[in-house]
Amino acid sequence: MAGPEAQQEPGFYPRINATMVKEPRYANLIVSIVGKCISNDGSSMMLETGDGQQVRIVHEGAMEPGQQTAYVEIVGCVTEDFVQHFVCRPMGDEFDLETYNEMIMLQNTKYQNITFQDEYITA
């Protein structure tokens, strides 16, 4: 586990799901979450991720209409039990969330060595 002083290097953001948002390991980290948009009231959005759980994404202002696809990737900062949105990327209207979830489970466990910044690799 990285110490609080460890800075995330540019381009490093773990790919996680809604369950992982609640894990202390990812607290206050910039992360990526891919999910299906369940609701969007203009200030926050609910995303369902590949583990079947939901996570709240808080954003300032409405999302750009061009980015409103059924599936989106949010890059943002884990804050308590929600994610503060920085960037939203469209991921199309047909995305295999289940396989994506299996892939990120591998990235966050056995294959951290090829995906994680060294200071953030856990045993």
Binding site: P10, F12, P14, D96, L106, K110, T115
Partner: protein, 274 residues
């Protein structure tokens, strides 16, 4: 060596083929050219940006998992794009790191199609990049000869799984037919997540290792004779490594049904199909 079927000859590649350095303003003279690598070393390696950034080794070579990849493939998101007259420069990120990618532009020979393809690449888009790792000023970057928007966002998932597969393949020591002793624990499936979580990336049973041995052997010697490789030669060669004849026969049956090999003059002589 083939990595999940990614081996190919640069001369026949559909990724443009032309060495981008030859289209740069200062092409190297022909006498400076390095000799072409053997075809077996001209493979395309899917990898993460972190693997690229960590590629620098002490002797100046750029090695990914201890190998010198002829070309690498990335799937990543465009963070920034800088358009120039002779080259476009992109900053790409994939969650594992950030890397600079340069794509040379040949304003005289590039057609409308190439210009339109490049115009589509904008920040926040996922792209597929095929190119070569290079190093400048202590920083690793990529010289690209193929950049294109991904066909589907599912390509992101596929690419990362592909990179994991190739990393496993290389680090388990299955390359060149030798097996490192430390993989024995993995082979039995003890204490590792993928087996218990039901994510079957590759055959991790001991039979999988034998299959790879047999495949590598047939691939290596397939072209030495017109008829291919005889079963007795495989048994003789791999017997010394502790692979039994029955395991070899099983492996051959599996490879044959996978379409990796085919029998030639009789049912005990095989050629590599890929």
């Amino acid at each position: 060596m083939s990595y999940g079927g990614y081996e190919f000859n640069a001369d026949t590649t559909s990724y443009g083929g032309a060495d981008p350095m030859q289209t740069s303003p200062n092409p190297a003279s022909s006498s400076d050219k390095k000799p072409r690598k053997p075809t077996s070393d001209q493979f395309l390696l899917p990898c993460t940006i972190k693997q690229c950034l960590k590629a620098a080794s002490a002797d100046g070579q750029l090695l990914v998992d201890g190998q010198d990849p002829h070309q690498i493939k990335l799937v990543a998101c465009v963070k920034s794009k800088e358009e120039g007259e002779t080259a476009n420069t992109y900053e790409l990120e994939d969650g594992t790191g950030l890397i600079e990618v340069k794509e040379w532009i040949n304003s005289t020979s590039d057609g409308d199609h190439a210009r339109a393809r490049r115009a589509l690449i904008q920040p926040n888009c996922y792209v597929r990049v095929v190119g070569k790792l290079s190093q400048f000023g202590g920083k690793v970057n990529v010289t690209a000869w193929h950049t294109k928007l991904v066909a589907s966002p599912n390509e992101v998932t596929h690419h990362f799984l592909d990179a994991i597969w190739c990393h496993e393949n290389a680090t388990r020591g299955l390359i060149n037919g030798s097996v490192k002793s430390e993989i024995n624990g993995i082979s039995t499936g003890v204490g590792f997540g993928p087996q218990s979580s039901g994510v079957a990336l590759m055959d991790t049973s001991t039979g999988g290792g034998d299959k790879k041995h047999v495949q590598d052997y047939i691939q290596q010697f397939s072209e030495e004779t017109e008829q291919g490789v005889a079963l007795r030669d495989i048994v003789e060669a791999l017997g010394g490594k502790g692979v039994s004849e029955s395991a070899i026969r099983n492996a051959i049956q599996g490879l044959s049904s996978d379409g990796m090999i085919y029998s030639t003059i009789d049912e005990e002589t095989f050629k590599y199909a890929m």
